[in-house]
């Protein structure tokens, strides 16, 4: 498989983010929450404080590193939930059709009509802030694209000879879905999932920025931005570094998604064989 440049750059950025998140406790210089020391308040970036310090004297570098854990957890887990919901609904709707298809289509259209961030906001308002409610809110609001792709793929795959053949050979519905349909639509689902992960990282930042996601003092990139809002003129490093982290992660995921699309495209696959 030949990977394009964008997939390599995107993959590298995403891998870096994952690496930072996994090894945060070893990479961080100080404790992200407890490492406050007013003696070091609002230090600009230097050799000692790589990304500077905030008003409480906490090391921004350590907080950004720890923030990766939360942002990526939210991004990956909520997108997985979205993919599972979307694929399940789309696959069954496309396969069985009938009233179930109408129900799923209606739901999908409903989800597309409501801005997902507003919907997530409403869920957060009910559940209260915190990581779990963030996962639920973002996991339930972004499955409509996956669902559409899965349904459309199912409709076109359903008439393929091998799906018909499986039916003739006595496969049950579930077995046809799992062995014949799902593996053949995995490419576009992965692409959408990767792009959606970037969206989820952004959504987490937005919700935390609005004070509904991760609450201070725990570091998430969004909540850090939110805290840094007042000092953006006096201590710009407070906003720049978490912002940069969000930017690079989302850019990485989008590049990866685009790159994977080129690799997994059935057209380019058939050209190689």
């Amino acid at each position: 498989m030949k990977l394009g440049t964008s997939a390599i750059i995107g993959g590298a950025l995403f891998a870096l983010a994952i690496f930072v998140g996994l090894f945060a406790p070893w990479l961080a210089h100080t404790d992200p929450v407890m490492g406050a020391n007013l003696m070091n308040a609002e230090e600009p970036p230097s050799w000692i404080w790589w990304f500077g310090t905030d008003a409480q004297g906490r090391d921004i570098y350590s907080r950004v590193v720890h923030g990766a854990r939360i942002s990526l957890t939210v991004g990956i887990v909520s997108q997985l939930v979205n993919s599972v919901i979307g694929v399940t609904l789309g696959l069954t709707a496309g396969y069985w059709g009938g009233w179930w298809d109408d129900v799923v289509n209606g739901l999908t259209n409903l989800m597309l009509a409501i801005p997902s961030l507003i919907f997530a906001l409403a869920i957060m308002a009910v559940l209260g802030p915190g990581l779990t409610s963030l996962l639920i809110a973002l996991g339930l609001t972004n499955w409509s694209f996956t669902c559409r792709i899965a349904r459309a793929s199912t409709l076109s795959l359903k008439s393929q000879g091998y799906v018909q053949a499986a039916r003739v050979l006595g496969y049950g519905d579930l077995r046809i879905m799992i062995t014949q349909l799902l593996p053949n639509m995995v490419g576009p689902i992965i692409v959408i999932g990767t792009l959606g992960m970037g969206g989820a990282v952004l959504a987490e930042a937005s919700l935390s920025f609005l004070g509904l996601g991760i609450r201070p003092p725990y570091p998430s990139w969004g909540s850090m931005l939110s805290e840094a809002r007042d000092q953006i003129t006096t201590a710009p490093w407070l906003s720049v570094f978490p912002g940069l982290a969000i930017f690079l992660t989302v850019l990485g995921l989008n590049l990866l998604g685009d790159g994977l699309r080129d690799v997994l495209d059935p057209q380019s696959r058939s050209r190689r064989t």
Binding site: G161, R167, Y171, T179, N184
Partner: protein
């Protein structure tokens, strides 16, 4: 009492009902296939032979549906079986191979896995055992180096190899009936002969009955002991395959026979044109009244246009539906 035939189709009628039109696509089709027997259905595209096969395995989908008649497998009515019982028949007792070996295999799954799936599905084997059996199954269809080939994906195999894999899948569970729907149409002529030979030998070894569906009368007569000729949704003639070339009774069959090139004939030597049947098969929606072949038939008379011909029994279990049969 004698044992019931393996499969018995009686007065089958398949309707096409799309809400706007309601027409019989197949009508009055009857035939029986005994254990280990070979039976062929021949006809042009659109004559209803493939949907008859689909009806046999209970897989007609809207807008097509069985409207009348009976299909009995070992004396049991297929229409009356539950969905689970029908699934149990499919692949296990009745298997099918298709025209397009390119598209009938899942492109993202190794062929060995697709064969093994049959053992897991119908015989309750573990994947370990099933994978072992898949290698054997590939060896049985004369695929060289089967233990390496099981890991190949369909696109890595040639058309002939793919059709062998299809046969391996179809015969994996030792079915009683193999339905072969144009099994060699998409293959080179030389490969065709190999595949037909392979299919015939394997079925003969196992006592598997074959229902072969094709537009190629020569091929079907070569493989099958008995042949049914279908035209526009009806069986117009059914004969032993030896009789059909010697003395076919229906003008349509005669047309099919005449349109085959024969070694040493004037047409084969290029001295005369091969004969063809004038006209085309009528669309399902406007089958003519009376004998459905009458607009294309040279011998058609007034009665052919008004009355559908009754079945006339010929010797040796043959039958014909024609007012002017020879």
């Amino acid at each position: 009492m004698t044992a019931p035939p393996l499969i018995e189709v009686e007065d089958l009628r398949i309707d096409l009902d799309d809400g706007v039109k309601h027409v019989a696509a197949v009508e009055g089709v009857s035939f029986r296939i005994d254990r280990g027997e070979t039976f062929g259905l021949v006809g042009e595209s659109g004559c209803g032979k493939s949907i008859t096969a689909l009806a046999l395995i209970g897989l007609l989908r809207r807008p097509l549906a069985v409207a009348a008649g009976a299909i009995r497998f070992e004396g049991r009515e297929i229409q009356g079986l539950s969905a689970a019982e029908q699934r149990e028949l499919r692949g296990n007792r009745i298997a099918m191979i298709f025209q397009e070996p390119m598209t009938a295999l899942n492109p993202v799954s190794p062929v060995g896995r697709q064969i093994a799936e049959m053992f897991v599905l119908h015989k309750g084997k573990s994947w370990r055992e099933a994978n072992q059996l898949a290698v054997e199954a590939l060896a049985n269809v004369r695929v060289p180096a089967p233990e390496r080939r099981v890991k190949d994906y369909p696109h890595q195999l040639s058309g002939g190899m793919r059709q062998r894999v299809m046969i391996a899948i179809a015969l994996a569970c030792d079915p009683d009936l193999l339905i072969a729907d144009e099994p060699t149409t998409a293959l080179d002529v030389t490969v065709q002969a190999e595949i037909i030979e392979l299919m015939r030998n394997l079925c003969a070894e196992r006592g598997t009955a074959i229902l072969m569906i094709s537009h190629d009368l020569g091929l079907v007569a070569n493989v099958c002991r008995r042949v049914g000729v279908m035209y526009a949704g009806r069986i117009v003639e059914e004969r032993g395959s030896d009789d059909i070339f010697r003395a076919c009774a229906h003008p349509y069959t005669q047309g099919l026979v005449d349109s085959l090139p024969r070694l040493g004939s004037r047409a084969a030597l290029g001295r005369s044109r091969l004969r063809e049947i004038a006209g085309v098969v009528p669309a399902i929606a406007d089958f003519p009244s009376g004998c459905r072949f009458n607009p294309r038939c040279a011998q058609a008379t007034e009665i052919c246009r008004t009355t559908a011909p009754e079945t006339t029994w010929l010797g040796a279990g043959g039958l014909v539906r024609c007012h002017h049969h020879a």
